[in-house]
Amino acid sequence: MSEANPAAPVVIVGAAMGGLRAAESLRRSGYTGAIRVVGDELHAPYNRPPLSKEVLATDVTHEAVAFPSRAEMGDVEWMLGVRASAVDLAARTLTTDDGNVQEWRALVIATGLRARRLDFAPIAGRHVVRSLDDAMALRAELTVGARVVVVGSGFLGCELSATASKLGCSVTIVTPSVEPMIRPLGDLVAKEMRRRLNAEGVEIFSGVTVAAINGGASVESVELSDGRVIEADVVIESVGSDCNIEWLEGSGLDLSDGVLADNAMRAVTADGRARDDVYVVGDIARFPNPMFDDVPRRIEHWNIPTDTGKRAGAVLAAHLADDGSFDDVVAKPFAPMPSFWSNQFEIKLQAYGLLGLVSDDDIRILEGDLADQVAVGYYRDDRLVGVLGVGMKAALLPYRKQIAEGGN
């Protein structure tokens, strides 16, 4: 491997929240050299959660969701509308789809996820929601009286159902799951969520998949695996996501689920070595969190791009400073609290920890009433590893503390 060229920039691939936070953190940690952010979207980094909730319900504009730009970011170079296509970790180069090959001094991987699509012929009326452009295209079709079929019943699918319904559409959820949001929330809470969504007028067909999407110029109906046919003007596919790792194939990094990183967010190669000059942040990063155990996991929650971006920026800045501080910075404890929320109609969910680690027998009501406001505990080996509040916020704080302290 060649020596890194100190005149080359730190290149961050992925110009969204994770990439932005890594760049900010490099600057705040004292790195004053060149930073270039390469991203395939045309928009400067913006906040995605409102795209299925508040902003989708009103007006979808970049201005409504753009992250503020900090003064210290003034000399960061943004290469937007450019897609990374290959990387060479030995030569320290990045190839982009415009044919350019650029040298980097250090690399930050922040390319996140993309929405998975159903495998049917393209037809007008089919949508996914991951990007601002996706949300704009969908918003235009959510007119009063539109018949909307949402495929998938995760958080995103349920939020999109609620928002479409509030906009005056009639909404049906089609899902292979037994209950909505059952994988993260567990059976007890998921059943209650079905009751609440039904009460709001959302129909849920569970245990079925989509067999066909029919129509001429645009969608007319959706055919289910049990033979039922639902008339539809709009189909929203909310069936999970895939990691944007194609540009890293053949690089030698461990890509078994996203990109493997160590607790300092350094990328790990397939033969198990961490690179001091390559970092991974955000949804695509699979990293160990000592709050729970030493198993590396990807966590698709909004706080993770910020926490991992800050961590990666601080460690990388210490590596580049080469002032003897690196080992101390790496050794600093890093155990970010996973945190998510979801709004569906007047249902406000808020959670801390890793709910998905737990089996149905280890989910207990902590306080309140499931049919009203409730705090629910998720236990692993009798330790609290997650807490969910439905319509409860401040009451969760002692449980959050308990999770952070190891769950006892």
């Binding site: 906040n47 959660p49 969701v65 910020t306 709004n343 916020k393 401040a394």
Partner: protein
């Protein structure tokens, strides 16, 4: 002194700021956000962290 502004039309009372800058932000008994609009300069890192973690991006430092 740092001056803080929260757009209360945007704020959804998620309370994430509370963990980052507890001297300035708290959730009251009705789960509504209450905040102190001024902070000493020594709190800058915490206030900036609170700005970052706001799901609605409703918090601003007025420079």
């Amino acid at each position: 002194m740092i001056k803080i502004e929260v757009d209360m039309n945007q704020c959804q009372h998620y309370g994430q700021c509370v963990f980052e800058a507890p001297d300035n932000f708290k959730l009251n008994d009705d789960d509504k956000l209450e905040y102190v609009a001024e902070a000493p300069d020594s709190e800058r890192d915490n206030i900036e962290a609170a700005v970052d973690v706001c799901p609605m991006q409703a918090i601003r430092i007025v420079e």
